[in-house]
């Protein structure tokens, strides 16, 4: 089903800004905006399979998919970045990312409108994020990368896919209600 498996570069050197002049980024589109993220965390990119909705969750949780027998949560990146849920098309993809919490590794899917390409951005073209003026939460932006004189937002995987924040499942009014007058069931 047209999978594109990326070599998972985990070596610290690949990420190190001292040793390496160039870092690789995966770029993709969400609501017509081109975004990038370090390729180190990306495990795999798949076409969107059937996504099973999980009830009583906020809209940034798109649901769960069956990834070769495992149940993997899918985050709707459009909703997560405040751009509205991703509308499924032929081009929409799920980017599978490994997120670490303590010693445990968790695989999450990230639903995007379209995966573009892999870019190499030189270190001198990486600039700090703007302090204001961005529509995206500033802590979600790790840096800005200059590509052909245009700036691309480089997302901070740790913040966008913060397990703690995702698992809060905020919007859940039931959670608040239960947290308070707990006990009856």
């Amino acid at each position: 089903m047209g999978e594109m498996v990326l070599s998972n570069r985990t070596s610290a050197a690949a990420h190190s800004e001292v040793d390496d002049e160039v870092t690789q980024y995966l770029t993709f589109a969400v609501s017509d905006e081109r975004l990038a993220m370090s390729i180190d965390a990306v495990k795999e990119i798949i076409e969107t399979p059937a996504v099973t909705r999980v009830p009583m969750t906020p809209d940034y949780i798109r649901g769960v998919i069956n990834l070769r027998g495992s149940v993997v949560p899918v985050i709707d990146l459009g909703a997560r970045l405040g751009r509205g849920p991703v509308v499924l098309t032929k081009r929409s993809c799920i980017v599978l990312v490994e997120v670490h919490v303590g010693d445990e590794a968790h695989v999450l899917g990230m639903l995007v409108d379209e995966v573009k390409n892999i870019l190499e951005i030189a270190r001198e073209d990486i600039k700090p994020p703007p302090e204001f003026g961005s529509e995206i939460r500033t802590d979600f932006i790790e840096a800005m990368g200059r590509v052909d004189e245009v700036f691309v937002i480089i997302l901070s995987v740790d913040h966008v896919l913060s397990m703690q924040e995702l698992a809060a499942l905020r919007r859940l009014s039931q959670e608040a209600a239960l947290g308070g007058a707990d006990g009856e069931s």
Binding site: T52, P55, V64, I65, N66, A167, E175, L178, G180, A181
Partner: protein, 738 residues
């Protein structure tokens, strides 16, 4: 087997021995003269000493030796077993556990012992001596055989003959033959050591540098008894043929040899005697001829009964002394029973079992996928085959899960100690009664429920049961009782923890809950609801709990732990009469029987054990709506939830007014209706965790992969009921518990 796994085996053995020592000590508290229990304590210390010695853990040897010596004196009646002494022995047991842990964790056996631990050990040993003097013996060379014990033969000559034939796999199993010799050297003098090579080693093609070809003949002098020497090599008995001979008369030599014959070489009694050199081939042949001649006279059918035992003939023949034959017969018998016992139980690594169960989970999913494909392809002929496969798969599943089932009693017995220690500390008299210990459930569930159970039992002891004076003043017997009862109920295990203590004061809980803002002063709560407030997080700190006549220490943690196991916990209490906590848990966390339903575009699984009945909702079904949230099912009023409403996933294409179905579910003592779009039937459900993102999601217990490859979520009925109630509550309606 590497050295590490040898250590692991040592740790496991120690844990087991200490557990049986504890059980024995508890039994001795009731009957200080029980010889079985006395032996058990002795044996535990003795074996730990022996194995510890093999590894060179001197501090373990020193400590356990002193305890062992004392136990030997107790056994022979020289030292009376008083209550303080039992208490000290309990502490010795705990100290041994700490010692073993500290030492095995240290990198090398030679690493110096934590001085604090050593001091604690010495202090304990001092307690063991009735006169208060330090009873510490300079272990273990003074381990003189107790004269009062007639079981051990006295040492006549001062040289022991020890033959060690290490097997080829010794090195590969992580054993070092030298360590045994070194330890032996610490017990006495190795007067002479002859090293022999296994003839295999000299074969030109056969030499393997990783194999062990060493045999040792050792002349040993030391003031030790036979069991002590045997204990030196106890840990090697898998890897070594060991013979320890007292150079006494020939007869005692034969007796020893007989006892040392390896199991797999025990066959016919004649062969056995031949092997040890007590009999010559000629003598045996003659006896066999006699036997054959005698049985020839009897008819064939009765041959077995008529045939005289070869041993009798040998004795008659004057070839051998009766005592030797008796010993040979005993050896034969012992091996037979041991073989039978071994055939009953196999120890299996829990991880391997877990892997097997995972694989069977995949198999269940795959066979469901085949069923879907065959249906789609319309191959009628295959249906029968698939029925067969599915039947087999479900049998395999049940059997595999059964493998991991353990009786809960094994884990509950540890609470005897908890109750004993805590009641002493608090000067209360408490008896723990365990019933239903034979009830079985998945080992993984047992492990996870121990913590919450400990909590509940501690609560019962700390805050439930009153002091003897208070109890007497209330007209209760001065001894309080904590009962643990376990039983199976519709695919679940129920564990009840009951005490006859002070009970909970609902009014004070209410007051406290209002004070911390959990409930408003005008909220109307039933007594049951009020009691349940102590499971809420706000009432859980220790200080508040004490204000509340006791309970509530970490009760929210208990509830969370139980709910994480897809279980429920309920509580009932009457002031002055006691408290009953009921925990209901699923029997396994891996695979369950489920009932598949659809609601909106999605499919959901309800645990089959919780499904009471399914009814089509229609005019003829006898179901009447009874207000907005209740239905009347044949006169029974039930609350209900329409899944598509709760999940906000109604399928807009579905025609309004299409027939729906009602699934009546039960949880705890409650019943509820779930209104779904369609009933899709039973299925074997392999539970897949939803992962960390959803760990705080309520109402969904997990997911499963259907034969089509789609995912269906597994519903948690009790939590759904709570959520629906919460919504109704926030919509301004009074909560009603069914």
């Amino acid at each position: 087997m590497s050295l590490d796994s040898a250590r692991e085996a040592f740790l496991a053995e120690v844990a087991e021995l200490l557990q049986s020592m504890e059980d024995a000590l508890l039994a001795l508290e009731d009957d200080p003269k029980d010889p079985e229990s006395l032996n058990e304590v002795f044996r535990a210390m003795h074996t730990i000493k022996g194995t510890g010695g093999v590894f060179g853990y001197d501090s373990i040897v020193d400590f356990t030796h002193t305890v062992e010596t004392l136990m030997d004196q107790v056994r022979s009646g020289q030292v009376p077993l008083t209550r303080p002494l039992i208490a000290a022995l309990f502490e010795c047991r705990d100290h041994t556990a700490r010692l073993v842990e500290a030492i095995v964790e240290a990198s090398t056996p030679e690493a110096p012992l934590d001085p604090e631990l050593a001091r604690a050990g010495d202090a304990l040993l001092a307690q063991l001596s009735p006169s208060g003097k330090a009873a510490r013996a300079t272990a273990p060379s003074t381990a003189a055989p107790s004269a009062a014990d007639p079981k051990y033969l006295p040492v006549v000559s001062d040289l022991w003959m020890i033959t060690l034939k290490f097997k080829h796999d010794t090195f590969r199993d992580g054993m070092d033959p030298l360590s045994f010799l070194r330890y032996l050297g610490s017990l006495g003098d190795l007067v002479h050591v002859t090293t022999l090579l296994d003839p295999e080693a000299t074969r030109e093609d056969g030499f393997d540098p990783e194999s062990c070809y060493l045999h040792f003949g050792i002349g040993f002098r030391g003031e030790v008894d036979k069991p002590t020497l045997a204990g030196v090599f106890e840990f090697a008995d898998q890897d070594c043929e060991i013979r320890i001979l007292e150079p006494d008369t020939a007869q005692s030599k034969y007796l020893e040899l007989l006892a040392a014959v390896p199991d797999d070489q025990v066959g016919w009694i004649g062969d056995l005697l031949l092997r040890i050199g007590a009999l010559t081939q000629g003598e045996l042949d003659r006896a066999l001829e006699t036997q054959a001649a005698e049985s020839g006279e009897a008819s064939d059918g009765e041959e077995a009964e008529r045939k005289r035992r070869i041993g009798e003939i040998l004795i008659e023949q004057g070839s051998i002394k009766p005592a030797v034959v008796e010993q040979a017969a005993r050896t034969q018998e012992a091996v037979r029973t041991r073989r039978q016992e071994e055939a009953h139980f196999i120890r299996v690594d829990a991880q391997r079992l877990g892997h097997l169960i995972d694989l069977i989970g995949e198999l269940v999913t795959s066979s469901a996928a085949i069923r879907v494909l065959v249906k789609r392809a319309g191959v009628e002929d295959m249906n029968e085959v698939i029925d067969g496969v599915e039947y087999l798969v479900s049998e395999i599943r049940d059997n595999a899960l059964q493998l991991r089932m353990v009786p809960i009693g094994e884990s509950l017995s540890r609470f005897k100690r908890v109750v004993r220690d805590a009641s002493r500390e608090l000067s209360k008299e408490i008896e723990l009664v365990i019933t239903g210990g034979e009830t079985e459930l998945d080992k993984t569930v047992v492990e996870k429920m121990i913590d919450p159970l400990t909590h509940l039992i501690r609560n019962a002891i700390d805050h439930g049961i009153e002091t003897p004076e208070v109890r007497r003043s209330h007209g209760k017997p001065s001894q309080g009782t904590v009962r643990i009862n376990a039983y199976h109920d519709s695919g679940h295990i129920v564990v009840e923890i009951a005490d006859d203590g002070a009970g909970l004061d609902a009014e004070r809980i209410r007051a406290k809950a209002e004070a911390v803002g959990l409930v408003k002063s005008d909220d109307v709560l039933t007594r049951e609801e009020t009691l349940r407030l102590i499971f809420a997080a706000g009432l859980s700190t220790k200080e508040q709990a004490t204000n509340l006549s006791g309970r509530g220490v970490g009760m929210d943690v208990v509830r969370r732990n139980i709910e994480a196991l897809r279980g429920t916990v309920e509580l009932d209490s009457h002031l002055g009469e006691g408290t009953l906590v009921t925990i209901v848990l699923p029997l396994t966390l891996a695979i369950i029987d489920g009932f598949l339903v659809s609601a909106g575009p999605d499919q959901y699984v309800i645990p089959l054990a919780q499904v009471a009945e399914c009814v089509e909702m229609g005019a003829a079904s006898g179901i009447k709506r009874h207000g907005e949230h209740y239905i009347n099912l044949r006169g029974e009023v039930l609350p209900f939830i329409r899944l598509t409403e709760l999940f906000e996933n109604a399928d807009p294409r579905r025609r309004a007014g299409r027939r729906e179905s009602l699934v009546v579910v039960r949880f705890g003592h409650h019943k509820m209706g779930l209104v779904v779009d369609a009933l899709l039937g039973e299925l074997q459900t392999v539970i897949k965790p939803l992962g960390k993102v959803f760990e705080r999601l309520r109402g969904v217990a997990g997911a499963t992969i259907l034969g089509t490859g789609d995912i269906a979520l597994i519903l948690d009925v009790a939590e759904l009921a709570a959520i629906a109630e919460g919504q109704r509550d926030s919509a301004g309606k009074r909560p009603v518990v069914t």
